[in-house]
Symmetry: D2
Subunit: 364 residues, 4 copies
Amino acid sequence: MAGNSFGDLFRISSFGESHGTGIGVVIDGCPAGLAIDTEFIQKQLDRRKPGQSHITTQRKEEDELEILSGVYEGKSTGAPLTLFIKNQDQRPEDYGHLETAYRPSHADFTYQQKYAIRDVRGGGRSSARETAARVMAGAIAQLILQHYGITIQAYVSQVGLIKVNADHTQLDLNSGEENIVRCPDQKIANEMIHLIEEIKKTGDTIGGVVSCVINHVPVGLGEPVFDKLQADFAKAMLSINAAKGFDFGSGFEGLGMKGSEHNDIFESKIDLKGHPSFNTKTNHSGGIQGGISNGETIYFRVAFKPVSTIMQSQDSVDKDGNKVSLEGKGRHDPCVVPRAVPIVEAMAALVLVDHFLRNKTARL
Amino acid sequence: MAGNSFGDLFRISSFGESHGTGIGVVIDGCPAGLAIDTEFIQKQLDRRKPGQSHITTQRKEEDELEILSGVYEGKSTGAPLTLFIKNQDQRPEDYGHLETAYRPSHADFTYQQKYAIRDVRGGGRSSARETAARVMAGAIAQLILQHYGITIQAYVSQVGLIKVNADHTQLDLNSGEENIVRCPDQKIANEMIHLIEEIKKTGDTIGGVVSCVINHVPVGLGEPVFDKLQADFAKAMLSINAAKGFDFGSGFEGLGMKGSEHNDIFESKIDLKGHPSFNTKTNHSGGIQGGISNGETIYFRVAFKPVSTIMQSQDSVDKDGNKVSLEGKGRHDPCVVPRAVPIVEAMAALVLVDHFLRNKTARL
Amino acid sequence: MAGNSFGDLFRISSFGESHGTGIGVVIDGCPAGLAIDTEFIQKQLDRRKPGQSHITTQRKEEDELEILSGVYEGKSTGAPLTLFIKNQDQRPEDYGHLETAYRPSHADFTYQQKYAIRDVRGGGRSSARETAARVMAGAIAQLILQHYGITIQAYVSQVGLIKVNADHTQLDLNSGEENIVRCPDQKIANEMIHLIEEIKKTGDTIGGVVSCVINHVPVGLGEPVFDKLQADFAKAMLSINAAKGFDFGSGFEGLGMKGSEHNDIFESKIDLKGHPSFNTKTNHSGGIQGGISNGETIYFRVAFKPVSTIMQSQDSVDKDGNKVSLEGKGRHDPCVVPRAVPIVEAMAALVLVDHFLRNKTARL
Amino acid sequence: MAGNSFGDLFRISSFGESHGTGIGVVIDGCPAGLAIDTEFIQKQLDRRKPGQSHITTQRKEEDELEILSGVYEGKSTGAPLTLFIKNQDQRPEDYGHLETAYRPSHADFTYQQKYAIRDVRGGGRSSARETAARVMAGAIAQLILQHYGITIQAYVSQVGLIKVNADHTQLDLNSGEENIVRCPDQKIANEMIHLIEEIKKTGDTIGGVVSCVINHVPVGLGEPVFDKLQADFAKAMLSINAAKGFDFGSGFEGLGMKGSEHNDIFESKIDLKGHPSFNTKTNHSGGIQGGISNGETIYFRVAFKPVSTIMQSQDSVDKDGNKVSLEGKGRHDPCVVPRAVPIVEAMAALVLVDHFLRNKTARL
C-alpha cells in the first residue's frame, strides 16, 4: 500500500508536486452535514503559505482554495471532498542545476534510488509544498472538532537553543499568532526572531520545536494496542517534512522523575445527581493513559531540524558519482517552525477526528 | 478499524490478556519458504520474560512458544503463522482489590470509560504482557531481515538521568547483553544497576531510554508522504507500553546545529566497472532522507516513563468516585527499560520487514 | 496485504490448516459489552461440521469451541476475541499419495506454483475446513445482529438441476432445518436428497445453489461507490470454497424484464405524528439501491460447483509433469450445499455487522 | 472506512459528482517508470462516454483527460497519479423536479436516508458518470498489464433475452468493437440493436450481460482465503452501477454437471531442458483454482439490470411521503451494457494489477 493516504475512517489522500499543476487532497469519510467554512480553510492555508513575513521564504503563492467535489449547498454530502490549490510563481529555471546533482540531506538521492526517476522541479513530491494538502484536510477536520468543542493550538516553543521555559498552562496560547515566529512568550519571541534574522544573513538555517496543546478532548479516544492515540500522533508528526522527534506529556524531559512523582493522582467530583466525574491532579500523562484520552489536556512536542536548503556553497555529487559544487538558489525558509505551526495543528486534527469516528463503534 | 493489527503487507494481529488463556499473534503476509527457527524465537521471548534478574519483576512465566498454524516441515507456507504462549503463574488474587479502583497512570480509568467493561485481572489487555506477542512476531521479522543481512541492535542508553555519553559508533553493541541492564558501556551499566537497586528498595520506579541501531538496510525503504520510514518507526515505538518519546538521527539534541553543520555531505566511490556507490560523511539524518532509507545506519531513541505500579501506598478513587488508598501488590519492574530492549528490536523489525515488502512494488 | 483478513471495522483474521493444530479466528473490533453465547456459536459449528447425515462426509470432527481471548465474565471487552477449535480425527495417511500429484480442480497446483511449498495434508490452508473460522466469527456477528433484530436465513434452493420454484416470500424458511438437505420445500428436499444419494453411489458429486434472505435490515447500510452492500456480499460469497456465482434481487434471472417492470415503486405511510415511512411495492432491487440497504428484504443466491474430490479414478500429473492416476480416498461430501448454508449465513453476517458499524459515522 | 477507494497496493480513490466540477481519480501505488499513454486513456474514456451512437444517451460530454499529478516527462514517478475530466453540458434544470421526489429504483431514497442530505443534480455521486473515474484508473492499470502481455477483452453477450450462444473460445473478440452494441457475434449484435431500438421507442429500458475474457495471466495471482481472485472480481463487478450478478467459469450455468465432468484434468509438457509446463484440458474453473490464477483463460459474466430512468410516467413519493408522478426527462441510455464494456474491463484491470503487485511478496 503506497503511503499517500492517512487515517482509517477520516481518510485523506494527498496528491500533487511542487511545480506541477497543483496540490490537492481527497477526503473520504467526512461525515455528511458539515458546514464547509471556506474562509476558515483559506485562513489556515494563509498561515502556512510562503512569504508571510521577512523571516520566511519569499516565494509567493496565492494558494487559493478550490473545491472540486463533495459539497452541496455549502455542506458535506458524505461523498469524497476534494480540495485543490493551483501552483503559481513557478521558476523551474531555479532547479535546472539539480537535474543530476543530489542536494545534501534532501530527498533527491533516495527518491532517485527508490523510483529510478525523479521530478527534479522543486523537489517534486518531496517538497514541503505537499503540506498544503494536509493543511486543507486538517482544516476540515478542525471544523468537525470545533463542532464538538475540541480546540487545538500549536506554537513555537524553541528555535535553535532559545526555548520557552514556561509551561503551556502558564501561557496565553492565543497570543502566539501575534508575532511572526508564532511564540506566545513575546520576550522569547523577539529573541527567536533576532536569531532567525542573524541566521538568514549568513545564508544558513536553524531548527526548533513546535508544541501542541489540545483541550476538551472527550475520554475514550485511542485504539489499543497499536493505534494508541500517542502512537498515531507520533506517526502524524514524524511524517511532516524535517520532523526529527516527538514526545508527549513528561516526554524525554521527565526521565529524572520517579514513579511516585510521575503518577497522576485521580480526583473525583460527584454532582447533585450522584454521578462522579474524574480528573487528575497532575498531568504528566499528557492526557493519554493506556493509549486512550483521559479527558485532561493533551500536549506534545515536535522537533524540526534546520532546513537543508542553505544559501551557501556546498559540496556534493551527481548521479554518476562526480563531485559537484551546489550554490544555494531559490527562495527558502531560514527556519521552518513558524510555518510548521498550522501543519502540526492540521495533522493533530486529522488524528483526532479519525479516532473520534473510530470510537463511535467501541461499545454495543 | 480496531487497533490490534500492525503493518500492511507483513500484518500482525495481536491477541490475549495478562491473565487469560495466553498471549498470541497471527502473522498474515509472511513470505513462504522462511525457515522458522523456533530456538531463536524462544530466545527473544526469554529476553523479554519477567524474572530474568533481581532488577526485573519476579513474576515467573515460562512463556513457552507454541506454533498453532502456518508452518509445514519447518518452513512458512504463505498461510497465516500463529504463535502462542500460555499464561501461567497467575495470581488473580493480587488484583481483587482493583476491581473498582483506578490505579494512577494506568489504563484502568480509560478502558472502563471507553468500553464500559474492563478485565481487571492484571490490567487485562492493557498489560505489558501483551508485548510478548510483538516479540514473537518480531522474531519472525528478524529471521527475514537476517536472510537479507540486516541487523538490529537495541540497548539501554539512559536510566533516570544516568546516560551513556558515547555515540553508538563508539560502542560495542554486542556487549549490551553482557549485563543485566543491557547497556553496552559496562561502567555506566553498573551505575544504572545500582540506581535501579536503590529505587527498588524504596518501592519506587524509574524510567529511561532505549536506543536502537540498524545496519545494512538497503536504500529505498519508506513510502512518502505519510508512511515515511521514521513515521512508522515513531508509531511502532509509541505504541509500546510506557513509551513517551521518539527521535531519530540528530533528534531533539541536534537543535543547536545550523543547516550548514547538520547537512550530511554526499561522497561517492566508483568501482572498476564505473558504477558509483554513495555514502554520507556524517549521519545526522539517521539513515533516512525524505522518508526513505539512504543506506547509512538508522538510529533512534525511545523514552520510557517510570513504571506506574509502585510498591508504595497511593491515593486514588474508585469507579463511583469514592476515595481509596492503593497498596502496591503483585510483582513488578522497578525499571522497564532492560526488558524493553527486545520489544524495541521486535517493533523495529516489524516496521522494516513491512517496508521491505512494500518496496518490492516501487518500480515497474 | 495478505488475504486472510476480512472486514474493516469488524475485522476477522482466520488461521489454521486442515491437519495442523486447529482452526481459529481473531476478531478485532467486536463492540464491548456483547454477551458471548457460546452455545449459539457451538450450534453454528455443529451445523457446519462433517458427519451430520448420510449425505455429508463421514469425517468426524467434534469441533469444540475454545475461547482464547477477549471475554471477561461472559462479555466482550473490546479486546480481540479469539475462537479456536482443535483438529481431531486426522488421517494424514489418506494424503500421502498427494504429496507430488496435483488433484484436478483443487488448489494443489496453484498453491505449489505461488508459494513453492505446500502443506499437502488435506489441502492444508485451502481445505474447506477453514470455513469453520468463518462460522465462529459469523456467529459472533449474528449475536450482534440479533441484538438489533436483524435475521439471516439461508437455505438450499437448488441441487444439480432440481430447483425450488417458490419465491422466498412463499416459503417457511424456518422449516429448512427440518431436513438434511436444508431445503424449506419438503417435496423438493426429498428429490434433492434422492439425487445426492444416487450421485454418492457412483462416487461422483453435484453442485447447487444456496439462497439467503435477510430481514429487518435498517436503511442506510453500504458505502458507495466501491463498498456497495451488494459488492461486499459478492466478495464474501465468492471467497467461499467452491462458490462460482452470486446474484441479488432480480439477478441473472430478471434479464427479460423491462425497466418499467423492474422498477420498484415507492409507497409511503404517514403515522399519527405526521412522520412518513417508506416501502416499495415490489422488491426486484433485493433490498439494496445505490449500494445502500433500503429497508426491504435483502436476498441473494450463491452457486456452488460440484466438489472436486470424487471417489473415482482420475488422470492427472505430478509436479514433475509425470502422468499419474488418482484414486479417490478420504471422506468427502457428495454435495457441498447443505453444509454451505451456515457458511453463507456467517459470511452474510460478517458483511452486515461491518457495514452496521461503518454506518455509525455517516453523519455529523 | 468510507467506500470510495479500491485496491490495496494499486489503490484508487474516486471523487466527483455528475453535475459538479468534474470527475477524478487519484491512484496511489502506480509503479514508477510507466509510460503514460494519454491517447490510450482518452480512447477508453471515449468508449465509455455518452452520445457514441443512437442507442446510447444523447448527453454530450467531451470527457477530456487532464493529468493533475504524478507524471514527469511522460512517465509515472511513484507519486500519486491524478486524472480528471471536467463536467460540461450540464442541464441542472433537468433535475429540479427531483429535489424532493424519490425516483424508483434509484439511489435518491437511500442516499437521503443515510446522509440526510443529497446532491440532487443528476444523482450527484450516485450517477453512473462516476464510472469515468474507474475507466481512467483502469486504463493506467491496463497499461501496466500490457507491459506484461496480459489482455482483457469484454463484450456484450446478452441483451434482454437475446444471447450469444457461442463460447468465448469460438468468437473473434476483437470484432466486438465493430458494432455499436459491442457484441462479437454480428448476427446476434443486429438482433440486440433492433431490440434496443424498439425498447427506446417506448421510452423503456432493458438489461443484459457483459462477458469478460482475460488471457496470458501468470500463474499465482490471488490471495486466499478471503482475497481470492474471483472474490475480488466479484466485488469489483458488483460495485458497478446497475450490476446484479457475477459468475465465473462454469458459473450458474454449470449446475447440471457432475464433479467427474466438471473437473479440469491437468496435462503437462516437458521442454528440452526437462522443465514441465502445465495446462488443463477443459477450463470449467475459469482460470482460477483455490482462489489463484492457474494460467488458463479467466472468464466471467456480469449481469446488468434495465436502467431505472425511463421516459415514461411513473408513480412515486417525495421525502414527506406525498404521492408524486414523475415524468422521464433528461437524456438516458435505453440499455447500459454497450457502455458498460469498458467499465468492466477497467475494473478487471484494477483487480489484476493489484493482485499482480501483491503477488510480488508471496515468497522469500
